[in-house]
């Protein structure tokens, strides 16, 4: 733990009893997390059942994506961004395309903006439903909840397959638009899905939210003060669950998010229960955006007619663009020296930085709660380790 006198105290117990080193138990949790969050390890020190220290260990999936990107052209990194957060490839694609567009000053046509928003919000549906399934799995409800979530996810992945050619590895965005237009009838099928989705959501919510075990397990664990969360760089649903109204779609609208009417759901305490509920509420807001976008979808070009696919060389300079990915703030910092390859390609991964305060959240709690808190952060190791 880091002592920082200018910050409010973290969730650690007010007075730490003197610990007898001989009585402490060192547990290496992972690298295979029991609920398949990925190859992530935590070195936990326990006093009885109580966590007294927790050090995450990273790097099992590290392939130095940033170094590889320096050796290839800008567009060649696009398929690689699919593999960051592999639950949400389309939002990664858009975040990267957005950064390059900022770097080179590229315009995006109207229809492409709509296609981007529709795919991004569908991706948010996938991520948040999968989150609910995995989170329930962390709690011991292994399988059932996840299967409900994955049943709906498959329907959306079918749409993605028709649109991009792949269920998950989409490689869909281009600098200045999208790779291809929507196939015939795609918008109508997406529209049907958006109409039917709330019924599933009601069902899932009915099944779990009032559950006694869920409430007993998730309430009052993992909460931290708002100031600590902001200072720790926590973004996305985790931050909003603590009651901070900060969503980049509203704070710094990119694309055409400023045209749509949607709300930013907020939690009150920021414990694991709030984090679960915030995802349910965000799902409903995503559906509202999807409904509006599908109704307004204009005709036109899906990519800027002057967008360069080959021999693309952005001007010298740098750009940082950030994006409200389903897991938090996904940023790309690109430095160009005028050649076809980026001089520096940096990803700001939300999963990685949201783990900064993991130890603070877990101190003083039981080992079983650590698994839930890690689940509530919603990480994907492809993005953490890059």
């Amino acid at each position: 733990m880091i002592s920082n006198p200018s910050m409010p105290p973290a969730a650690s117990p007010a007075s730490k009893p003197e610990l007898d080193e001989d009585q402490l138990l060192h547990v290496s949790l992972g690298p295979q997390h029991p609920s398949t969050h990925g190859v992530f390890r935590m070195n936990v020190v326990l006093d009885g059942e109580t966590v007294v220290s927790l050090k995450p260990v990273f790097g099992y999936l590290h392939r130095n994506h940033e170094k590889i990107a320096e050796g290839v052209t800008y567009l060649s990194s696009m398929p690689f961004t699919d593999r960051l957060d592999y639950i949400c490839p389309l939002t990664n694609n858009w975040a990267y395309a957005q950064a390059v567009e900022k770097l080179a000053g590229i315009e995006v046509p109207e229809r492409a903006e709509y296609i981007r928003i529709i795919t991004a919000e569908l991706t948010r549906l996938i991520n948040h439903t999968a989150f609910v399934g995995f989170f329930l799995g962390d709690m011991g409800a292994w399988g059932s909840a996840l299967m409900y979530a994955f049943r709906e996810r498959e329907k959306i992945l079918d749409l993605f397959e028709d649109l991009t050619g792949a269920r998950m590895m989409s490689n869909f965005m281009r600098f200045g638009g999208c790779r291809n237009d929507l196939p015939d009838g795609w918008a109508a099928r997406a529209s049907v899905l958006v109409d039917e989705f709330p019924r599933f959501l009601d069902e899932l919510e009915n099944l779990i939210t009032g559950n006694e075990i869920l409430i007993a397990r998730t309430q009052n664990i993992g909460a931290l003060p708002k100031e600590t969360l902001i200072n720790g760089g926590i973004t996305g649903p985790m931050l909003r669950a603590a009651g901070v109204a900060y969503d980049i779609r509203k704070a710094e609208p990119y694309g055409i998010y400023d045209r749509f009417k949607f709300r930013i759901p907020l939690g009150t305490t920021g414990d694991c229960y709030d984090r679960l509920m915030i995802r349910f509420l965000e799902l409903r807001e995503s559906l509202a955006i999807l409904r509006q976008a599908l109704d307004q979808l204009p005709a036109g070009a899906y990519i800027h007619p002057k967008a360069k696919i080959r021999n693309f060389k952005p001007p010298v300079g740098e750009a940082y663009a950030r994006f409200e990915s389903p897991k938090g703030e996904l940023g790309f910092h690109l430095i160009s020296n005028g050649t076809a390859n980026p001089f520096r390609y940096r990803i700001r991964p939300p999963s990685f930085i949201n783990l900064t305060l993991l130890e603070d959240m877990c101190l003083g709690l039981d080992l079983a709660d650590v698994v839930l808190i890690l689940g509530s952060v919603d990480i994907v190791l492809g993005e953490v380790d890059r």
Partner: protein
């Protein structure tokens, strides 16, 4: 909303008269200009930006490490004011992107540079001001070899502990064998050794 850099610079000069800060222009269409801060003033500048109520830069979103073996290239990306003497040798650079969650301002781009790329690679850690830098500084230490003084737990984070060298440096040479491991085969080890220049290690 992009921050008003000249106004912030004036206030920084007034509050911290001894701090060396320069306004660097960004030639890209993104127009994200940056402030070059001398390493010794970095923590004071961050504290001022975070604690001043009408600036309130409370979120350190991103920390990027950059390796510049040729300083002229750095001056092309972040153009210094007229009359600045160009740096004599290559250096490592750390770029910080700050945002204000309450005032919706950002990104405020700060950059700071080491003296060279070999021995003088120390930069003060900002973890005491912005906790979000903790893992990002570890990552930059791991991949670029910047030593963050005052960091509470400066260890490798993505590479394994026994790994030598810093793979994101521009002059890094990948091992001959992709099966290179902390305990490589003897022949591979011998072959690999010749790529590694003598560099100060952890």
């Amino acid at each position: 909303m992009t921050p008003d850099l000249p106004a912030i610079l004036t206030r920084l000069h007034a509050a911290l008269p001894t701090a060396a800060i320069a306004h660097l222009r960004n030639p890209s269409p993104s127009a994200q200009d940056s402030l070059l801060v001398a390493p010794e003033s970095l923590v004071a500048v961050c504290q001022f930006l975070r604690n001043t109520a009408d600036l309130d830069f409370d979120l350190l979103s991103n920390v990027t490490g950059v390796d510049w073996p040729e300083p002229a290239k750095a001056d092309a990306v972040a153009v210094p004011p007229e009359g600045t003497t160009p740096p004599a040798c290559g250096f490592l650079e750390v770029v910080y992107h700050l945002y204000s969650t309450s005032l919706r301002i950002g990104p405020l781009v700060l950059r700071t540079r080491t003296t060279d790329r070999a021995e003088q690679v120390h930069i003060p850690s900002v973890v005491a001001v912005y906790r979000s830098a903790e893992y990002q500084e570890r990552e930059i230490f791991d991949l670029f070899g910047v030593r963050f003084t005052g960091h509470p737990d400066l260890r490798r984070i993505l590479m394994w502990d026994e790994f030598l060298d810093h793979p994101m440096r521009k002059d890094y040479v990948a091992p001959d064998d992709y099966q290179y491991e902390p305990t490589p085969h003897d022949a591979v080890l011998e072959k690999t050794k010749k790529h590694y220049p003598a560099r100060v290690e952890i």
